[in-house]
């Protein structure tokens, strides 16, 4: 018995020592993936470009705040995480960080003092970035950005999430992949796209599913679940890669148009994706947006220009899947059900009886991922509150869809939604007026 207790005590002591070591012994930082000369300098504009590709502004800028000065709340399942100030202000920003400190944050999720960043910072993905890009970004943040003194609200999650040391264990699993990029080698163009998608673009952060531990399930193209679709804040981030890709029907060029302008012949960017277009993708070169599209589609682009101007684009006719609905709407029988009648009275002017909309301006509703998503909140919200595609360099028009909250009651919106979800070959589950009421109430508390 005594022996047993002694062994137990010994184990406890070892355990406590191990735990203390786990908590207090600093994590080893990843080494640079490439040895660049000490006097290596990025090309003019390279660092800012990496900043755009990484969409740093979207998280690290508060609404109405100075760019990159942090303070934006990011809602996570664990609580609100406040983005940090990454301007070179020595007191409240990253002015005192060395390159090694910066790299550790980018690829290991570590603060200079060794504490763990919450994985709202997508270091799982930035881990794929080249040393050159990381250094260029560091150079830009240190020398190309004005320091802003802005002490942001400290993130204070509830127990146990406030015990950041726990992330060490999480990272053992989440960062099992080595730092550095491994191209599939399909083509130079597609490899470039893969690099942007896996690395700076951190697309997997939303578009890959998450496992039970909230880790990205699929961070590289070699994994089956890579970009197989995820859910973020009640919005479905559609599958972009592989056999079930939602963009299977889009050409490489159309995909690139969407990235650069938030709109194409099929769809328009909403929600989080609208912000990605606004703050990141519109600033990429045509070659890079085409490369991303080429990688996602597994096919090289045949053009070099994205989103050309001076185009007259006739709206498409109904296809086989949509013919029946189109015919019913065209007939406009006075005794048609409420759903299609509401569609005729409110929606058909832009989206047409074909459900095809019109290229680059009115999204198609047939097979539209938002329309048929299991996450019905965004569709209801767009009908109630409208939507806005941001102004971009190549498509400067703010494309605003008006809301219908004042015009349609909950039961009517439900009828309309159910019509949309069951027409032109769409086949998604029905919703109820209560679902609409919830979204309406959520909006009114904002």
């Amino acid at each position: 018995m005594k022996t047993f207790l002694r062994i137990l005590a010994g184990l406890v002591v070892v355990g406590v020592i191990a735990l203390l070591a786990f908590v207090f012994v600093p994590v080893k930082r990843s080494a640079p993936t490439q040895n660049l000369a000490a006097d290596w300098q990025p090309e003019e504009g390279q660092g800012q470009y990496v900043m755009y590709a990484g969409d740093c502004v979207a998280c690290h800028t508060a609404e109405g705040g100075e760019p990159l000065a942090g303070g934006r709340p990011i809602e996570s399942p664990m609580g609100t995480i406040w983005s940090t100030n990454i301007t070179p202000d020595p007191k409240t920003g990253i002015g005192g960080w060395s390159l090694d400190d910066f790299r550790a944050a980018m690829v290991d999720g570590l603060m200079p003092d060794g504490t763990h960043l919450y994985p709202a910072m997508p270091y799982e993905n930035f881990r794929f970035m080249s040393e050159a890009d990381i250094r260029a970004l560091y150079d830009y943040l240190m020398n190309g950005v004005e320091p802003v003194e802005n002490r942001v609200q400290a993130t204070q999650l509830a127990f146990p999430f406030n015990q950041r040391w726990g992330l060490r264990a999480w990272n053992w699993m989440a960062l099992s992949h080595e730092a550095g990029f491994k191209p599939l080698g399909a083509s130079e163009m597609q490899d470039r796209g893969q690099y942007l998608v896996e690395g700076a673009g951190h697309c997997a952060a939303c578009h890959s599913p998450r496992n039970e531990l909230m880790m990205q399930d699929g961070v590289t193209a070699s994994q089956k679940t890579f970009l197989a679709g995820g859910v973020i804040d009640g919005w479905e981030a559609p599958a972009l890669y592989g056999p079930n890709s939602t963009i299977a029907g889009w050409s490489v060029e159309e995909t690139a148009n969407y990235l650069a302008t938030g709109r194409n012949a099929h769809s328009a960017a909403n929600g989080e994706m609208a912000l990605v277009v606004e703050h990141s993708l519109q600033h990429l070169t045509d070659a890079d947006n085409l490369a991303i599209a080429a990688f996602l589609k597994g096919k090289d682009a045949e053009t070099t220009e994205v989103a050309g101007v001076m185009k007259a684009m006739p709206q498409p006719e109904a296809d086989a899947a949509g013919e029946e609905t189109a015919a019913m709407l065209t007939e406009a029988s006075p005794d048609m059900p409420l759903g299609p009648r509401l569609y005729l009275d409110n929606c058909s002017g832009c989206h047409f009886v074909t459900g095809k909309g019109a290229p680059e301006i009115f999204p198609e509703l047939e097979n539209n991922p938002m329309v048929v998503s299991a996450e019905v909140g965004p569709l209801i919200s767009v009908i109630l509150n409208g939507a806005e595609v941001p102004s971009t360099e190549k498509r400067p028009m703010k494309l605003v869809m008006q809301g219908y909250a004042e015009r349609l009651d909950d039961a009517e919106v439900a009828e309309l939604v159910n019509f949309l979800r069951s027409s032109w070959g769409n086949d998604a589950a029905a919703i109820s007026a209560e679902d609409v009421a919830k979204v309406r109430a959520a909006q009114s508390t904002h």
């Binding site: 302008t261 989103a307 050309g308 101007v309 001076m310 185009k311 007259a312 684009m313 006739p314 709206q315 409110n346 058909s348 002017g349 832009c350 019109a358 290229p359 680059e360 301006i361 009115f362 409208g386 102004s391 360099e393 190549k394 498509r395 400067p396 028009m397 703010k398 494309l399 605003v400 869809m401 008006q402 015009r407």
Partner: protein, 589 residues
């Protein structure tokens, strides 16, 4: 003492079509630009949103998008023997208000002038001699030719997103287009819109009569469209609410759909609304302007905005008024024919025939502002002026364009205007009427002009502008000629009832019923400073840093709606500013 704003390189007065064009083009040169707009800001959403916007009572009848006459108006008289009275109720013409200006509430008819119209005086003299020009007729040549303007018409049409079919493509006459139009270097940016039933019937009747029908050139999108600035339009759904309304559907060509969001991205451009410009301020030497003084509605105070370059791009009437109160150009004096500012005010001479067909249903609620089939067989360059005894011409059009319930219930004459008889008439005739319109020229005359009113002032103490205008025999004869040609065509369509409406001899201008918002002239272009207010680049002859946009530049009105010409002139002017004036500011002529 007025508040003073920080100096800008350019101040733009009025943010409608031409102000937006000046803004976006000059912004490319890195100039610091501010635009001042009298009215409110306006965007498709929320201002034009469905269904609020298609409220005929509010916008079609009560004219909520238009200039507030309590804020600004003109006085009107028909001749010098009358005392001009203020235009207190909108009627004959409807100037717009707010960002986008008249470009938000127009019908979308986008015509180019005929080459002959820009050289009208020479054209008449060469063909029939000077004698057929009446003594009081003050027509002239534009100091710029069709060939010179052609690239700028094309540029404007690309920006504005015009649907149509070229009839004269680089000199090649194409079946189905307008064979009498000036040459086009390129076809229309978008194909023509489909025909409604009335338009089809008119088309067929024209073919049977040997005329040459073609689709109206429409600032209405027939397809989805992306313009050279990357701005976008969506295909029109024929809702029929164009004129007097903003388009909720991104289908009508307007500054909102084609320029403004691109312009607002320019960091060197800004604009202020509810800022009514009161006058252009002049340097002591009198040769240049120093900026403008405006009334800031919010602050309720006068503000001086200094600028190196002043662009007057408000509505024609307001541009002329600003020039009169600011001393740009010598005011025109009809007694002596001397002076230039206010000269050659012109309008439009229209007429038409309504037809009722018991057996045809025209679904008049289906349409758009520039709907229809046109013919130019009686256009200015198709008429023997010597033979017919007038100078002028017209285009004809048929196609429902504003089939709204309150104002568009055409009934046969004699139908009671209310009660059971009216109801019965509506029941019988609603949807069974169509019309053909004649849209004709109005020339310039010595006694049609604009000057400052001696009696009335506005709330800022400025004299109101006075309009002296009446119809002249020449144009009324032109109108009667159109009647004589249109009646047989209408009869050939075998209507059950036909009603003819053409002004005839002795008709006088009536400012009450709506006619058209095509007010032109008053700061006309000219070869010499003695004949007009601005030179061929629309630069004020006497103030070289003042450029003036709009239909006020028209030497005399054309037979067409003015937007195509004023849009082309705006691009022509801006090009001259960018390539000639900015490198070396001076009088360009």
């Amino acid at each position: 003492m007025a508040r003073q704003e920080k100096k800008k390189d350019v101040v733009i007065v009025g943010l409608g079509w031409t102000g937006a064009i000046a803004g976006i083009e000059l912004a490319q040169d890195g100039l610091e630009i501010v635009a001042l707009e009298r009215g409110p800001d306006q965007s498709t959403v929320p201002n034009f949103k469905y269904p609020n916007q298609i409220d005929e009572l509010k916008y079609g009848v009560r004219l909520k998008m238009m200039q507030k006459l309590s804020q600004q108006t003109v006085t009107v008289r028909r001749n010098e023997d009358e005392t001009a009275r203020p235009y207190r109720k909108l009627g004959s013409f409807l100037p717009g208000n707010g960002v986008g200006g008249a470009g938000t509430h127009w019908n979308g008819l986008n015509w180019r002038p005929m080459p002959e119209e820009l050289k009208l005086k020479s054209y008449v003299i060469e063909n029939w001699g000077e004698d057929i020009i009446a003594e009081d007729m003050t027509i002239g040549d534009y100091p710029v030719s069709y060939d010179e303007l052609e690239p700028y018409f094309t540029q404007f049409e690309k920006v504005a997103g015009i649907s149509g079919y070229a009839g004269n493509l680089n000199g090649e006459i194409r079946e189905g287009g307008n064979p009498f139009e000036g040459w086009r270097s390129e076809d229309f940016p978008m194909p023509p819109l489909p025909r409604t039933w009335d338009s089809q019937k008119f088309h067929d009747a024209c073919i049977a009569s040997g005329y040459h029908p073609f689709p109206a050139p429409a600032g209405i999108a027939s397809t989805a469209y992306v313009n050279p600035y990357g701005m976008q339009m969506g295909p029109c759904n024929f809702c029929g609410f164009c004129e007097r309304y903003g388009c909720y559907q991104y289908s009508k060509s307007s500054p909102q759909t084609t320029i403004l969001d691109a312009l607002k991205r320019k960091p060197n451009f800004s604009y202020r609304t509810h800022c009514e410009v009161l006058r252009v301020e002049m340097a002591e030497d009198g040769k240049t302007a120093t900026g403008v003084t405006y009334f800031d509605e919010e602050a309720q105070e006068e503000v001086f905005q200094p600028a190196d370059l002043v662009i007057l791009s408000s509505y024609q009437l307001n541009n002329v008024h600003l020039m009169l109160v600011s001393g740009i150009g010598e005011p025109y004096d009809p007694a002596t024919g001397k002076g230039v500012t206010g000269k050659n005010y012109a309008y439009q001479m229209n007429g038409g025939i309504s037809m009722f067909f018991e057996d045809d249903n025209f679904n008049p609620f289906v349409g758009h502002g520039a709907n229809g089939t046109c013919i130019d067989d009686f256009a200015i360059n198709q008429i023997d002026f010597g033979e017919e005894g007038f100078i002028g011409g017209a285009y004809w059009r048929s196609g429902t364009f504003n089939g709204q319930p309150i104002r568009n219930m055409p009934l046969p004459k004699g139908t009671p205007a209310w009660g059971a008889g009216w109801k019965e008439g509506i029941g019988r005739w609603y949807g069974h009427a169509m019309s053909i319109g004649s849209h004709g020229s109005n020339l310039a005359y010595a006694n049609n002009y604009l000057d400052l009113d001696p009696n009335y002032t506005d709330r800022h103490g400025r004299p109101l502008m006075r309009m002296t205008f009446d119809w002249h025999d020449n144009d009324l004869r032109m109108n009667q000629f159109m009647k004589s040609k249109m009646e047989p065509l209408a009869k050939s369509m075998n209507p059950d009832i036909m009603q003819v409406g053409f002004k005839g001899p002795g008709a006088h201008y009536d400012v009450r019923p709506y006619q058209t918002t095509h007010n032109t002239g008053g700061h006309i272009m000219s070869e010499t400073p003695q004949e007009g207010v601005v030179n061929r680049y629309c630069q004020a002859w006497d103030k070289h840093n003042v450029f003036v946009m709009g239909a006020g530049n028209f030497v005399q009105n054309t037979q067409y709606n003015p937007t195509g010409l004023l849009g082309g002139l705006a691009y022509w002017t801006v090009q001259a500013i960018r390539t000639q004036y900015l490198p070396n500011p001076r009088p360009l002529v």
